[in-house]
């Protein structure tokens, strides 16, 4: 039987880094609490013995208060050895869970992580004494650099049950913690540093709110800069080099026919148009790689940077007042940020919210009005030629939809909306290598997720087109499209395709020759009506099918309402 090691600890103590050190596995970590919302499993080979290692989500105690903590406690049931990761700079409160864990009488090893920081902030801990008081091995570690990991591994293989620890009350635990801290820890007085002053400026509303706007503006400017740079200097040259190859293939297929239609698509003016041709090997490659991927790279680079500095919890604090009115709290900004890359991780991030009501609102609003990078590419793709003003209208509309739908849902969805309660981690200088690694992992994840759907999407489009399904749908939905939204019935099929991949819809919409105003309505409708099928599946898992049906109803109502209002304002009919 393989033994199971479970990593337990408070949020944001570097458990995931310890985990990746032990297993060599690559996991995503950030400088904000609650990144690990699901458990991770890995393997450790030691003296010819194999261990399974589980990285449980962060928890403050073994009495769960949210879903992530419940998962952590479930994981503990499986443990043969517990590895309790403590934040050495925050020993006192980390000890509560340590004492709770000791009472479970499972062999245990303590990692005193973030050990290097204790010296910087003037904390002195007597490790030998702590070891004696807890009666388990305590090893100082710096997971980021790997310091102490070897000692940790040796102690894990030697871990055994000690004298049985009797359960005590909460009061008793706190007074015991008080005694331990008094014996093992000395804190030197510390002066206000530059870091503290930056921290203050970014969280006080007078300075913090302007800074927040500036940071967000800078963030998106950065994404655009990286994205456009990559397109101009890397992706477009690659596709131009590829073009003759595709043309050769087109010619050898005879320039028409079923196979040609599937692989190359339609030639436009005798040439391949990477956006409008709609073949698996033309549009199917160009849209995700040439249009979306460059921005995805820029976006994840920016997100990783923002995460690791520790800025996001400050943003959550500043925006809490608004999110509270929408039935969530400041943490609701995290799913939005992740969701702008891809709605799937965004939906998963709603788990950090405490109640069903909050999770339902966050996930629904995400699906309705937060465009993912593919949708953003779609919006820019169809409206870019008509000027930035129309793009601005789309984003402004989505913003109002988010606020409006949130206000309504907060009123009508039953349940509790607990307030924000969140630790603000100190600012940390992000490490370039960690950021690049993290960005790379996220891009890889996106690619493995995107490629199957993209081929499926293009294939589906071509098959459905061939059998005349789209004409049928166009006729069927023409009353809604034309009557309610003021759009041509031919735009209906692109909505179906949008369910698989929104970005593919661009190629189908451009040839319809719609006016800029019509395209604006289309862009909003396409963003709002349904998320892509991948997000749909994740939502179903997270919310359950009943809430998912409700969420879908909200989406349909919202899109019909907003679409017809926009029609009145923009099209004037």
């Amino acid at each position: 039987m393989k033994k199971i090691i479970v990593l337990m600890g408070n949020p944001n103590v570097g458990k995931s880094v310890v985990f990746s050190r032990l297993t060599g596995a690559k996991v995503i970590t950030s400088n904000y609490p609650g990144t690990t919302v699901d458990y991770c499993q890995g393997c450790l080979r030691l003296d010819r013995k194999k261990y399974d290692i589980i990285d449980a989500p962060g928890a403050y105690s073994l009495e769960p208060t949210n879903r992530a903590e419940e998962v952590a406690v479930e994981m503990l049931e499986k443990a043969d050895v517990v590895l309790n990761v403590l934040d050495a700079t925050n020993l006192e409160r980390n000890l509560f869970m340590a004492l709770e864990l000791l009472e479970r009488n499972i062999p245990m090893v303590v990692a005193l992580n973030i050990w290097d920081e204790t010296k910087h902030i003037g904390i002195d801990i007597d490790v030998k004494k702590l070891e004696k008081l807890l009666n388990v091995p305590v090893i100082p570690t710096v997971a980021l650099t790997g310091q102490g990991i070897k000692g940790l591994v040796e102690n894990i293989s030697a871990a055994e049950t000690r004298d049985v620890v009797e359960p005590t009350s909460e009061e008793e635990k706190w007074s015991k913690i008080g005694r331990i801290i008094k014996e093992v820890q000395r804190v030197k007085h510390r002066h206000h540093t530059l870091k503290d002053r930056i921290s203050d400026a970014t969280i006080k509303p007078v300075t913090g709110i302007p800074i927040a706007f500036f940071v967000i503006f800078l963030a998106f400017w950065f994404v655009r800069f990286i994205g456009e740079g990559l397109i101009n200097f890397a992706f477009n040259p690659i596709f131009e080099a590829y073009r003759p190859l595709a043309m050769d293939l087109s010619q050898s297929l005879g320039g028409a026919g079923t196979l040609h239609n599937i692989l190359i698509g339609e030639l436009i003016g005798g040439e391949i148009d990477f956006v409008e041709s709609l073949g698996v090997l033309t549009t199917g490659l160009y849209v995700p790689f040439g249009m979306v991927l460059p921005y995805i790279i820029g976006f994840y680079l920016m997100l990783s940077l923002l995460e690791d500095t520790g800025y996001l919890p400050r943003l959550a604090t500043l925006s809490d007042t608004i999110f509270h009115k929408l039935g969530m709290h400041g943490h609701g900004i995290i799913p939005i940020f992740l969701g702008m890359g891809c709605n799937v991780p965004g939906t998963l991030a709603t788990r950090t919210l405490e109640t069903r009501k909050q999770r339902f609102i966050a996930a629904t609003l995400l699906a309705v009005s937060v465009p993912c990078m593919a949708q953003i590419a779609m919006i820019f793709g169809i409206l870019g030629p008509h000027g930035i003003g129309y793009i601005f209208i789309v984003f402004l509309t989505l913003f109002f939809v988010y606020i409006g739908t949130g206000l309504i849902l907060n009123r009508f969805v039953k349940g509790e909306s607990p307030e924000i309660f969140m630790e603000i981690p100190p600012y940390r200088r992000p490490s370039l290598i960690t950021i690049l690694k993290k960005t790379w992992m996220r891009i890889k994840w996106f690619l493995s997720e995107a490629i199957p759907y993209l081929f499926l999407g293009v294939l589906l489009v071509n098959i459905l087109y061939a059998i005349g399904f789209f004409d049928l749908m166009g006729n069927l939905f023409a009353p809604v499209m034309e009557g309610l939204l003021g759009l041509p019935g031919e735009a209906a099929p692109s909505l179906m395709v949008g369910f698989v991949r929104k970005d593919l819809a661009v190629g189908m919409l451009l040839p319809l020759g719609m006016s800029a105003a019509q395209l604006t309505v289309t862009a909003v409708v396409l963003t709002m009506y349904f998320p892509c099928v991948a997000t749909f599946v994740v939502m179903m898992k997270e919310l359950g099918y009943r809430d998912m049906i409700k969420a879908a109803l909200v989406m349909v109502c919202a899109v019909l309402f907003v679409g017809s209002i926009m029609r009145l304002i923009l099209l004037g009919v």
Binding site: N10, Y60, S61, E63, T65, N90, E92, R93, F96, M97, I121, E170, W174, R190, S199, D200, I203, K204, P205, P313, A316, T317, L318, D320, T321, H324, H329, G330, P418, E419, I420, F421, M422, E423, I424
Partner: protein
Amino acid sequence: MKLMIPLTRLNEGDGATIARLDGGGQFQRKLRTSGIREGKTITILTKQPFNGPIVVEIDGRETTIGRGMAQRIIVDVS
């Protein structure tokens, strides 16, 4: 003499000693396990406008707390 007031009554920059946490077991545990405990010195870093959350500092650590919760943290300012 002891002067007990809810945390929300303090102004920015004010400090006090936490005297009592008014609430159920889960509420108390949540606060205590994140460092907000009776006997600790708590300082108000900022109060967000429009009844937004309060950011406090305890033992050099910053925490954001909603107004309603802060209302139930009773501090001693004497």
